[in-house]
Every structure is written in C-alpha cells, then in structure tokens.
C-alpha cells in the first residue's frame, strides 16, 4: 500500500488513486507478460496444434489453424517400438536421480551444519558441480569413465564401459550399467541443489527444541528422527516436486552422456531425434505432449496424496 493507497479522491483525469495504481501495475508488468506470452505461451499452444497435424519441416507452411486435425501422431508414437521402454527409463532415471540427489544433499547439509575450519571452502566446492556447465561436466565424466585412458578404469581390476554397456553383471546380478551411471551423474550434479535448500532450512530452525531434546537425553539419531526431520519434511517435499519435474523432461544430461544409447533412451531424447533426425514435427510434438501429460498426472497424484507438498508449492 502506498501512502495514499486507501484514500479515494478524485485526481488527474477523474481517476482515483486506486485506478492509477492498477494502471501503473499493468503498465509495469506488461513487458514481462508480453515476452512470456510471445515466447512461451503462444509457442506452447502451437505445439499442441502441431501434435494433431501431419507436420513436417517441408510442408510446415501448409499446416495452419484450420488444418486437418488427426490423432495419427499419437497412435504412431505410442505404437512405435521403443516408446514404452523410453518412458520406463525416464521414470526410473527420474525417481532414482531425485531420491539420490535429495538423500546426498540431506547428508551433506547435516554434515556441514556446524561450523568448522575451512567450511566456506568445502561449501563452495560442493556447489561447483551444480553451477558448472552441463556440457563440460558431461564431457569430463565421459573422459574419466573412458575404458581406454579414463582414470576410473585404471583403478579397477578390469575396465568397465560405463556409458556404452547396457548390461553387466555385478556380484552375480544383472545390472543396467549405463542407466546406473547416468543416474549417478544426475545425483552428483544436483545434490548441491538439495543441499542448498536443506541447509538454508536447517539454519533457520529454532535451537530451543533441540536443546530441550538434549536435556531430555535424546541421542543424536533420536534428535534427528524426532526433532530435525519433522521440520524438514516440507522442504524435502518441495525438493521432490521440483527435482522430479525438472528431471522428468531433462534432455541435455542423457543426450550428452550416452546420446540415448545403451538402454538409457529417455523420452526427451526421442523427442529431439524425431525433430531433427526424422524431421517429423508432428510426431515429435505429440511425444513431447504425452511426456508433459504423464508428468502432470504424476504431479496431480503426488499432490493429492502428499498435501504438504501442495502448500509448499503455492508458497513458492
């Protein structure tokens, strides 16, 4: 409220101050709105239209608002071999990546909670995987895991083709090597994100509760379980939503590490391949929309059953 916000009084041009404020507000917000509408909302609507049309780069000028709408793209992409396995991969990759990055972030935040010598440096070093460009870190992992000259393989008794081998056996078990590597990369790159959020929450916690628990003779694990964790659930739920949403539709990490090979194909990489390698815009858009719809369904289910997450999201 500005100083005269509540005062209704006629001024210039016969408008009240309230009306003036509303006008100024709309005027100031309009550049933001304009760019969001032009570069995000309008293209999104167009993507939906393209998904229902037979659109290729060659005939794109012939598709229009009143083109022939069909469901062909959807039936095509869903029946195409590889779609369902890509969707399963996406789900496994997202769930495991999200859970691991939050778990490591939580451990890191708890370990770095109390001050110690060199904490600033350690904190800074922990954040680097998150701020570093994805192309550089993906390439770095590729080099480190290279079977011929990668440093990791020189430590192992026999080299493992981490990024190009779909299956391998570990302790007599069949494991999806490349998929696990990609998940490890995801956890490594995004645990700092969870770390930042959780540490900020930890530092805002009131000290009295914990002191009282110490007086009552609670051990460190009991304090964590009954005092600290109950206060962290909200931020963990928020992180789970954010990381799930971002990872589910993530393109660059998997594309750069494996190109979608060795059993790591996720839906976003398929969308890209349909768009550039096949020039099939309609099918590409249809696939992207299926991905977005699946995401929305998961989100809706999550928010329905974990009401706490919903409150957090609104406060975002």
């Amino acid at each position: 409220m500005t100083i005269a916000g509540g005062v209704r009084r006629l001024t210039r041009g016969g408008r009240t101050l309230e009306q003036q404020e509303a006008r100024a507000g709309l005027l100031l917000i309009s550049p933001t709105l304009l760019i969001t509408l032009v570069v995000v909302v309008a293209p999104l609507l167009w993507a939906v239209m393209l998904a229902f049309q037979d659109a290729r780069l060659i005939n794109i000028r012939r598709t229009g608002l009143f083109g022939n709408y069909t469901l062909e793209n959807f039936t095509y992409v869903i029946s195409e071999p590889g779609f369902w396995s890509a969707l399963v991969n996406t789900l496994v990759y997202t769930t495991a990546g999200t859970a691991l990055s939050i778990a490591i972030g939580l451990v890191a935040a708890l370990a770095l909670r109390a001050a110690f010598k060199g904490r600033t440096l350690v904190r800074a070093s922990i954040l680097v995987p998150y701020v570093a460009p994805v192309v550089a870190v993906a390439f770095l992992w590729e080099v480190m895991l290279n079977p011929q000259f990668g440093i990791v393989n020189t430590w192992l008794s026999e080299p493992i083709a981490f990024l190009t081998q779909a299956r391998g056996s570990f302790l007599g078990l069949q494991v999806p090597v490349a998929l696990l590597t990609v998940i490890a990369f995801e956890a490594w790159r995004y645990f700092p994100f969870a770390f930042l959020f959780i540490l900020a929450r930890l530092q805002a916690l009131p000290g009295e509760l914990e002191e009282a628990a110490v007086v009552d003779g609670a051990t460190p694990t009991q304090r964590f379980r009954y005092v600290i964790m109950p206060q962290l659930w909200r931020v963990v739920a928020l992180l789970a939503v954010l990381r799930f949403v971002f990872t589910f539709t993530k393109f660059d990490d998997v594309y750069l590490l494996t190109g979608g090979g060795a059993g790591t194909e996720v839906v976003s990489v398929r969308v890209y391949n349909f768009l550039t390698a096949r020039d099939d815009i309609g099918a590409s858009a249809a696939q992207a929309i299926v991905l977005a719809v699946v995401l929305v369904v998961f989100l809706a289910v999550y928010l329905r059953f974990f009401a706490g997450g919903e409150r957090d999201q609104r406060s975002l």
Partner: protein
C-alpha cells in the same frame, strides 16, 4: 557404553569422513580436468593413471583457443550472456515491482502463470520455437537465442526480485514520495540501490542460464559454426576424433572457468550485501 555416548563417538568419526568424501567427489573431477588439460596426449595414453603430469604444456590452450575457434565461441557466449542479463533485469525490475507493491487486476493469475512457465519443460517449447525460427530464417542468429533465454529466466527473476522488493521498508518509499519523487524515480533512486544484493543474485542466475544452456543453442545454432556458443562448440568438437582429448579438456576448463569465477565473486558480494540492513539508522 550408553547409546548416546556410542552415537556421539560414531558421528564424531563419521562427520569428517562424510565431509572428506563429498569434497573429493566434487573437487577431484575438476582437479582432474585441469591436470588433463596441461599434459601431452602421448603421456596420457602411456600412463593414464598418473595424476601429476611429468611436464606441463599450455599448447592445448593455444590450440583450443586458436585453431578450434574457441575465442569466437567465447565472445559469442559472452554476447549472449551479457545481453540476456541486461534485458532480463530491464524487464523483470518493473514487473517484480508491480507484483510486489501495486494492486492490479490479474495479479494472482500472473503469479500462477510465472510458476507454470518456471516448471514448464523446455523440450516441449523447443519444437515450436525450432519450427518458427526455421520459418523466419532466424536459425543461426544470436538475438533469437537471447530472446528465448530471456523468456526462460524472466519468470524466476521476477519471483526472486519480488521477494526482495517486499522486504524494502514501505516507509522508505513513502518518504521518497513525500519528497516529491514519482513512482519511477522512487524505484530508480530508492528501491534499486537498496536491492543491490538481489539484483546481483538475479543477474548471476540469468548469466548462468545463458552461459550454460545447451538445448536451444544446439537446435538454433548448430548449422552455423561461427555462431556457436562455447557449450555447443565443446559438444560438437568432442565427437570428432582428430582433436586430442587433452585439447578438449582445455576447452572444458575454458568453458567452466568464467562461470565458476562469476559464481565465487558474487557469492561473497551477495552475503556481504545481505548482511547490510536497510533501515537501521
């Protein structure tokens, strides 16, 4: 030994181990990156396990910056990132002020729209923008890319700035209004100087997005080598066998270094700025 004493002893041992482990898994890869970038490719092939090169060479950097064209890629990335930061701030400052202070029709809806844009998958957006840019002949042009980055960052920067503007005391603004400042003048002379840490944080965020982004750069610029950003340049050259890995590692260092420097420089300024209160005296 009681459970409490046991646990305390356990965590006294575990905590330094965890800290050491986290430091190693985050710092070691970057150390390895730098070490690989200053050694000869022959030496790497012969002795891949060694961490300290027998002889240091900077020829990898000369190669990557000169022959591979990373100087051009760097300047492209710099143009894209700086322009994105400037325009993003220019657009989001009035927007954030409006959402923080002024009551207007549709304020709640605007907030919801921005949240939706923030969570919206880039891969869905990539398709129509790719088609549009192809039709308009904008593929290969940096301004088109900048436009996309602005749209991607503006919702978040508005949100970040709004939160900060709300903490600027109303009384300071009212005082400036009484002193005869108009709304724009109040924003420019009172709100912005008080919000420097937030502006830094927002600028840094926009810079990071623009410097690190890969998908849109790949879609829009891949056919025109002279427009490549550093990220795109590195990813494209990493696939070719003629360029030694050590040279490409030098490219990785060149790509990573600016963002890490910017991050550390502003992290300090940020904490300093945030601890300085506004309405103390």
């Amino acid at each position: 030994m009681t459970r409490d004493r046991f646990e305390r002893a356990l965590f006294r041992v575990l905590r330094p181990l965890v800290i050491a482990f986290l430091t190693v898994i985050t710092a070691f890869p970057f150390f390895y990156m730098v070490m690989l970038s200053v050694r000869d490719i022959q030496e790497l092939i012969l002795d891949p396990g060694s961490l300290w090169p027998r002889s240091f060479t900077l020829s990898t950097y000369a190669d990557v910056l000169g022959r591979q064209g990373f100087v051009t890629f760097m300047s492209n990335s710099a143009i894209v990132a700086v322009a994105s930061v400037a325009v993003t701030l220019l657009i989001s400052i009035p927007g954030a002020y409006a959402v923080a202070r002024l009551r207007f029709f549709g304020r709640r809806q605007v907030h919801f729209l921005f949240l939706a844009v923030y969570l919206f998958p880039a891969i869905v957006l990539a398709i129509p923008l790719f088609v549009l840019f192809t039709m308009l002949g904008l593929r290969g042009s940096l301004p088109g890319l900048i436009l996309v980055y602005i749209a991607q960052t503006v919702p978040v920067t508005v949100y970040m700035l709004r939160n900060y503007f709300e903490t600027v005391p109303q009384s300071v603004e009212e005082a400036s209004a009484i002193d005869g400042c108009g709304r724009m003048e109040t924003i420019w002379r009172v709100v912005l100087p008080l919000s420097k840490p937030a502006l830094m944080a927002t600028g840094l965020y926009a810079f990071m997005i623009a410097w690190n982004e890969f998908l849109f750069a790949l879609l829009f610029l891949v056919e025109r080598r002279e427009s490549w950003t550093v990220s795109l340049g590195l990813s494209q050259l990493a696939g070719s066998i003629e360029i030694p890995t050590t040279v490409l590692m030098a490219g990785s260092v060149v790509l990573t270094l600016p963002i890490v420097v910017v991050f550390f420089a502003s992290e300090r300024l940020l904490t300093e700025g945030l601890t300085a209160g506004a309405e103390k005296g």
